[in-house]
Amino acid sequence: MNCAECRDNLVACAEGLLDRETLLECRAHLETCASCRAEYQAIASLQQRLVARGQAAAEVSLVAPVMQRVLQKQRESEGESFMSKILKHRWGFGLGTATGAAAILLIALLTLPKMQATAEEVMTRGAQVVAKLTSIRFRGELRTWPVDNFGYINADCPFCPIELWKQFEPQLKWRIEKPGRVVVMDGESTVMLLKPEHVAVKHPFRTTSAFDTDWLQQIANVSETISNELDNARAKGWKLSLKQEAGTDGRLESVVTILAKTTVPANDYEKNNWIWTADTRRVYRFDAQSGLLEAMQVYLLRPSGDVKIFDLSQIDYNQPIEPGVWTLELPADVSWVQNQLPTLTNNAVYAAMTPEQAAKAFFEACSRNDWGEAGKFLVESPVPNMLKQKLGGLQIISIGTAFTSAAGKDQIVPYEIKLQYGTNRKWNLALAKDQASGRWFVDGGLP
């Protein structure tokens, strides 16, 4: 290989995209040519800087807060209608003392020209009445495992309670909790605790969303969620329908149903495993008089029949939130997740592994109770006791061939193991590559 050919291949080489033969030729040339070697090092150095910049911004999620402000500004600039002023006034009182305002609202409604509301009008009004929230709290149920990710769904699971508290003013704070995990953003930092494992992970900065809670955060930003649903329905041709129903307390509800389809293929491994990879029917229940969103249900669309996977039954708007909600008690033996894996002295050995080799090496270390070695494939440090108890002394039955999903970046390695107490587990290990060290780490799929 000459210099020109080598330089043509440098980026592919740095990206690990060359076939073995070309890679060896390229490496051989780099060993002998100082000029090409310097060029390669310059590319690698730039790549490292870019990787670091990308990592620093990995958790940033500005779309919701920006669009909330942007659409609010636009509404203001377009001038406020009499109706929106009345509604805003009502929210200024807070819901607990809104009787008088409700009466004003009723008068306003009765004086409007009689018309048949469409689903879009109901949604638009629903977005307007909650345009200025100071806080929100909701409780619901999700079909999922208590310890699993906040976005994970499984139609075969029983319902699991899930709760959110969010304060918008004077300072953004939020907490989301289900039986197996909790995240608290106290205005300064964001910490998630996996309760059974005693594992915690911290972002030392405030976030608008983190740890897979994005979809719940979106629901909490009610006005924007409703607007987004409408926009998506218009852009993607999702079907909207409206009907009037009597609610459980006899009051009239405007019920808007949306059929939402994702672009994830039906045969994808992650299809219907996550709220955002699922084809769903979403049902929004608004109070017919106030226009307020009072409940929401999400149904998973399956050929065998629709299954309700999320039921949001209680929403409290603008109620004071106890300060204790923003405090997270951590267990004394908590293990912390490292944001970046350290580079090992023999790092190259691990960086060169295939996903299958990494999965095998990890399970073999567990089988030997060699937690120093197993820890090289984990972001938690030290290795959590619960993991040691569960995986120590296991036997590997089989390791399959890695595959990927259109919905994620992980390599997924099928495996079957026998746990030390005799239980067989057949599942898929998700492995992700740490950008800095180039090593695989376990990103999910442990028993």
């Binding site: 440098l10 980026v11 592919a12 990206e15 995209l17 310059a42 590319i43 730039l46 790549q47 800087r49 870019l50 990787v51 670091a52 910049r53 990308g54 620093a56 911004a57 990995a58 940033v60 999620s61 500005l62 779309v63 807060p65 920006v66 669009m67 402000r69 942007v70 659409l71 500004k73 636009q74 300064e188 900065f205 405030r206 608008t208 607007s227 987004n228 926009d231 970046k409 950008q435």
Partner: protein, 184 residues
Amino acid sequence: MDLTDKEYVEHCRDGHPEDFGLLVERYQKPLFAYLAGRVGDSGQAEEAAQESFVRAFMSLKKLRKPESFYSWLVGIASRVAREQFRSSARRQRDREVAERMMTDATDSNKEYPLEEAIAGLPESHRQVILLRYYERLSCQEIATRLGAPLGTVTKTLSRAYALLRQELAAREGAEPTVNQTQQL
């Protein structure tokens, strides 16, 4: 395939303000990284990034070259970052402290010119850099996303690296400068 910045800007101007969310999604990470480098604090960077996007939206009609949206946005962000420092100085009634903060932040992180240099890339090159490093997609995933052959992606990446290195070399040791001809 994703629309271009110009197309999104034109959609926003044509009565689809919700499309601005797609521009926010596209640039939120590099803009945050840029501002974190400028102000040295992630909380302030997030506030500044939000403010920059909102100002950009409100002034979208003034943008003369929609295809230069990101470069224009970085110019706005640069101004917002400076305003944050000035505001901090007013609050503390001690301009010297603010000057020192600015110097410290500038000294502690020399990486923000990287985002300025990215802003100056041609759109197709910038898109690949953003997907690779800020969305953390592999080259193969980028190829799938863009509907382009893998070889095209690596060639674009290669050219983008060359342009970035050239720009960064020119900026070395220089104060941050952004083409602010269209700034607010």
